[in-house]
């Protein structure tokens, strides 16, 4: 168990380290002169001013030196300041992060509840009309793009029915974006749950559990679900990372003040320090969640633990 966790943690650190390299070099991946592009929109910047920005960002140094300087700052918790407004990047991100986590968390909850329940029912009633209709709905759900579903929901529930506000940052504003993000993922989880459970229902040990005379509920939840959850949990971990990505789109559709929305603005404004900070933070979150899933996975499956 300890060795397993150590391995996973080292892999996580390695991932983050590689991310920092990619992030620090990001600015050079843009064709042309990044500083000119950054300031293209603002009028009247003199070449001297541009040169000063280059100096400040350390862009004239060799790449290795740039990376070392960047890492030195990052390790001290300094992600730089934004080009526009010169605000500290870390503070800005941390201010908005809870909103994004709330959105992704609520969406994950919706996805898990709908996905696990409907997938389990479909597997249990395999071949019935209920199974067929649940899985047809799931295919619809999987194929639905976030932004489109978001707009449809906005149109019906916020504009037409006026059950929810169109935009804002209260708890009532969380419902529609969370549903948007949740249902597409619910569909994926439902399909996986179904196939995993069908696989488990056919296993010999389920027959053994029945032969022991255990009540149906114990066979289904104590034995089948417990064994079927192993692959599902891994999948949910992956789903959460996709969900963080989806959050960027959904935040923009619903005007939800999360880091995703800020990131899109930063991209439009070519605010490189902010974009870099955002990517690094996202990578850390994704890696942390994966690590967490590995722990749960090990807890669920003793074959991993030992």
């Amino acid at each position: 168990m300890d060795r397993y966790l150590l391995q996973r943690s080292l892999a996580a650190l390695l991932t983050i380290w590689i991310t920092t390299i990619a992030v620090s070099m990001l600015i050079h991946l843009v064709p042309g002169d990044p500083v000119q592009i950054m300031y293209a929109q603002s009028q009247g910047t003199t070449p001297e001013e541009l040169e000063e920005v280059r100096q400040r960002l350390g862009l004239n140094e060799p790449l290795v030196v740039q990376y070392v300087q960047y890492m030195g700052r990052v390790l001290q918790g300094n992600l730089g300041t934004t080009i526009r407004g010169e605000q500290p990047v870390l503070e800005l991100l941390l201010e908005r992060l809870p909103n994004t986590l709330a959105l992704a968390g609520a969406a994950l909850l919706i996805a898990c509840v709908i996905g696990l329940v409907s997938g389990f029912i479909a597997a249990y009633k395999r071949g019935s009309w209920l199974d067929t209709s649940l899985m047809t709905t799931a295919i619809l759900g999987v194929s639905m793009p976030h932004f489109w579903l978001g707009l449809i929901l906005l149109f019906f529930f916020a504009v037409r029915l006026q059950w929810f506000p169109v935009a804002g940052n209260g708890i009532e504003n969380l419902v529609l974006p969370a549903v948007t993000l949740g249902v597409t993922n619910a569909a994926i989880i439902a399909r996986l749950t179904r196939s995993s459970m069908i696989d488990v229902f056919d296993q010999d040990f389920i027959r053994t559990a029945r032969a022991k005379g255990l009540p149906k509920a114990m066979v289904l939840y104590g034995h089948a679900l417990r064994a079927g959850l192993v692959p599902i949990v891994t999948m949910i971990g992956l789903q959460f990372t996709y969900m963080m990505g989806g959050a960027i789109v959904v935040e923009n559709v619903f005007g939800w003040n999360g880091v995703g929305r800020m990131a899109i603005q930063a991209i439009f404004q070519r605010d490189y320090p902010l974009i870099q900070g955002f990517i690094l933070m996202f990578a850390c979150i994704v890696v942390t969640v994966s690590l967490l899933m590995d722990v749960i996975y090990a807890w669920l499956d003793p074959r991993i633990r030992y």
Partner: protein
């Protein structure tokens, strides 16, 4: 076969320990159907037999003979659909099991009627501890507390000779060998004092030395508890070593039944004779080099395409036109020895 030999046989006492013992399980005219793409097939066709307290009854046949379906039908574990008990009765403890609801059957399964399976490696849940899997049935049926159940489980593990049971309770199936897992399965099955233990090919997946140990263990437990054991196998060697009585099944039907001694000495059905011929024997006439295994030609016909008359007729060297036209009835050929063959009297005894 001469008259002398036959007289000789009729005087042989039947070696059933439990000739006078109480019948614990009676299967009458059991029929189990399965729906397949090719239509409905009758996997078990009118099988009847009795199981007496303390006896080991072997049910023998090739795969597809309906022996496993028979045992699952008794347990009420036929997957439904596609399976369905289409007829017949299973008397156990004064009630017809086929008439019970699943909830009523639950009370019997794992307590007075328990079962072990062919693949010990896959028959236990890989994500639950052995302790959990041993105690859940005990708690369910005997109403014990978690702690009592744990102690009972340890006691059962001792009884099936698992070393360091307290420690091993905390472990998981992947930490055990196949033979140890089958011991665990037996311990689970015996933990609520069953009257009947159905063992579906309990040693097929295990290697030979372990096989013998497991069979010995089952006999010991039978002697200790007086439970009746229904031993499903395709291995005549296992039957000879373990069972008191044997039923031979072919294509869903019972075709021969008798005491092991009787059936091995003078099988009354060519199929049984064939099964015995397919048994490797040491010390048989001739050198080891030329001891050829006589296999039965052909395979069990698919249940969707059975020959008319006797189902074994197209593989049988004794078959005549009568066999191919009329189904032979099960008849008493000797006291306590029945078979379904028109040519029983022509069969040679195996050496």
């Amino acid at each position: 076969m001469s008259d002398v030999a036959m007289n000789d046989l009729s005087e042989t006492p039947v070696r059933t320990r439990a000739t006078d013992a109480k019948t614990v399980l009676a299967v009458e005219d059991l029929c189990t159907d399965f729906r397949t793409k090719a239509g409905s097939v009758r996997a078990v066709d009118g099988v009847s037999f009795e199981l007496k307290a303390g006896e080991i009854l072997a049910i023998v046949g090739e795969s597809g003979s309906g022996k496993s379906v028979t045992s699952l039908s008794i347990m009420g574990l036929i997957p439904e659909p596609p399976g369905r008990i289409a007829g017949g009765r299973v008397f156990f403890d004064g009630q017809d099991l086929t008439k019970l609801t699943d909830r009523q059957l639950q009370k019997l399964r794992g307590s007075s009627l328990s079962m072990i399976f062919q693949e010990p490696m896959t028959s236990l849940n890989p994500v639950l501890s052995i302790g959990r899997q041993m105690t859940e049935g005990i708690r369910q049926h005997l109403g014990m507390s978690a702690d009592q159940a744990r102690r009972h489980a340890v006691e059962m593990m001792r009884r099936v000779s698992i070393p360091a049971p307290e420690h091993r309770l905390k472990e998981y199936p992947h930490q055990f060998s196949g033979g140890m897992l089958q011991r665990i399965m037996i311990a689970i099955a015996m933990s609520c004092n069953p009257k009947v233990l159905i063992a579906d090919e309990p040693t097929t997946a295990l290697d030979v030395t372990i096989q013998a140990q497991i069979l010995e263990l089952m006999q010991e437990l039978r002697d200790m508890t007086g439970a009746a054991i229904m031993l499903i196998t395709h291995d005549m060697g296992v039957v000879a070593e373990t069972a008191d009585r044997v039923i031979v099944m072919y294509a869903g039907q019972k075709i021969e039944e008798g005491s092991v001694e009787e059936v091995f000495r003078a099988p009354r059905h060519p199929y049984t004779l064939g099964l015995l011929g397919a048994l490797p024997r040491l010390g048989q006439a001739g050198a080891v080099g030329d001891t050829e295994l006589n296999e039965i030609p052909g395979v069990v016909p698919p249940l969707t395409d059975l020959p008319p008359g006797c189902r074994f007729s197209d593989r049988c060297s004794y078959a005549t036109d009568k066999c191919r036209a009329e189904t032979p009835p099960l008849e008493t050929k000797r006291p306590g020895h029945i078979a379904a063959c028109w040519h029983s009297d022509e069969l040679e005894s195996p050496t």
